[in-house]
Subunit: 130 residues, 6 copies
């Protein structure tokens, strides 16, 4: 029943989100394994696996959107980690967040910044240099 | 009364948005020249003029946010043009829009796609290759 | 069947929105007279009829919210007129809209400004001084 | 290259949206055939094809969400038609829209009502009794 | 001062939300008893008491809207309970939430799913079979 | 490097938000001092320092917008305090929040009300009469 989209998606999820992505999938297993499967197949198996835009730019787009929408802070945390995992510098993440003050207002940017702070602190504790 | 932020912003606005940006500023002149000035000074004079993130990545972030928010189609049109003006390919713009289906749903992505189609058609008429 | 809330609401609606409010109610008559009734009873009969906050401040709150939410431009138009009808100056309306750039971003404020421009132009044509 | 998800999705799309759905897909063909494919495969091939919730309830959920979000009126129009196509009465559609005044405010419900009015008028012209 | 709308609303509130609804009303008593009254009168006394759409479909619409809007998780929790109280199965609730990935994106659906998980766990502890 | 806009903004921030505003700025110092500076310069140095609308009306507009948007509760808390600090009564704050039920729905108003309750409780503990 596991399709190629699933395998490709799982690999991509691990590349981007590492353990955090796996934990999300794990937490869905008992409530809706189908939703867990869609989450791997469509976003990661279909979309993030596409050519045409490099993974770093994809994560910039996602961080921007999640900061702007402002109602998905847990996912923003996962994708700030994701951005750093695929080659964005901390400075680049911060620049994206600052820029969102222009498009979604200062509260959205401020909440995004606080989320970035949390992520950076956790990565510091794990000895990550970026 | 014109600050350095203003001059720097006006230059950056022209670099990104060309005539479209100037038309927006012009349309604000009789209703609120102060707002026109802020629009140049803060987004363009302060933010887009920053180092730390290249202009192409900034436009990817803006296109992503405007597609996701879904209530600013005129500005999205300006920034799809902006993205193409500063070095994004049409393919990259389309990839960003497709990706927003994951974060903001298919209607937001679909409306973004229709806006991109309009922009590409207009640029074709003006003989632009990208 | 017409309650006191209805009569009080209709009077308040006329005070704030004038003809525009009546046209909205009229347009609902054949599709959902019940919704037209709720629209008069709850917002206007219950809320705008309350003491505790003056009508001018109520319209400032509504204009701010509709600019910030950004997905209700027809209603924003009605309430910019409403604000002017109950004693706000054009300057005050513009100040509220500019301020929304801080909380909801420049595109929301810009779209609000264009709506204000439309309203002011129409009022000029009708010979209104404010 | 056409998967089972695609065939199943196309059939489901026709069942729900009729010609309107096909026109959306058609309009995407020259700008992003891949997005057109995803639009068929994931929403219609994967989700609307699921058991566990009847199609009428699915359309009630979609109409509710699109009215509440308020930034996808073209899609709302398609799905009000969809709701009527799969067995909702006009009264039920109107009830869903009225109810959204509670959760997303009166402007969202009012804009939804105007969209329903448009759809009902078009269906009347086409001689549809519901 | 208590109207028929109030009595009818309170009864409907208890039917849908049980103790959770009463707790919300209780928590409003010292800050704004008027708002508590409106909350009973308009949503429950006026809207949920209407004929034309069955209560189960009304809760499906509400769960869909609250998941899609994504900024009202406490109310979503109340209405997932409400949906189950008036006859939706857990499967139906989960289907509505999955479907919102299409219209409001995966983060909104994922946050909705986590809220459902919380509700189901609490109901399990209280020995509820659905 | 500190501009007049900065000094003017810092003074205005203290006038409106008191200690809470300073704490926000402090918390940004190690992650993005530039964003802290923009937050003082543009919202407070440029916008709140403008004439044309009194500070009390500005805070009414901000509270309305933040309640309606619903995704910025920490900032709403700061600005409910701000509204009270610059001359709004608790009653006026509550009226603004109730009114948002009309424009953004009952959940947004309810969450705003719970935030106001928190703020009032804290001010009571600090012996503030309003």
């Amino acid at each position: 029943m596991v399709s190629n989209r699933y395998d490709r998606g799982l690999e991509k999820l691990k590349e981007i989100d590492g353990k955090a992505g796996e934990r999300v999938i794990e937490s869905l297993k008992d409530i809706s394994p189908d939703f867990a499967r869609y989450l791997i197949e469509f976003p990661f198996g279909d979309i993030y696996s596409r050519t045409g835009l490099d993974l770093k730019s994809r994560e910039i787009a996602t961080v921007a959107a999640l900061v702007a929408m402002g109602n998905a802070l847990p996912q923003l945390k996962v994708h700030i980690n994701g951005a750093l995992n695929v080659g964005c510098s901390r400075t680049e993440v911060i620049e994206v967040i600052i820029q969102m003050a222009v498009y979604a207002g200062f509260p959205a940017a401020l909440n995004g910044m606080m989320t970035a702070k949390e992520v950076f602190d956790e990565r510091n504790k794990r000895g990550k240099s970026c």
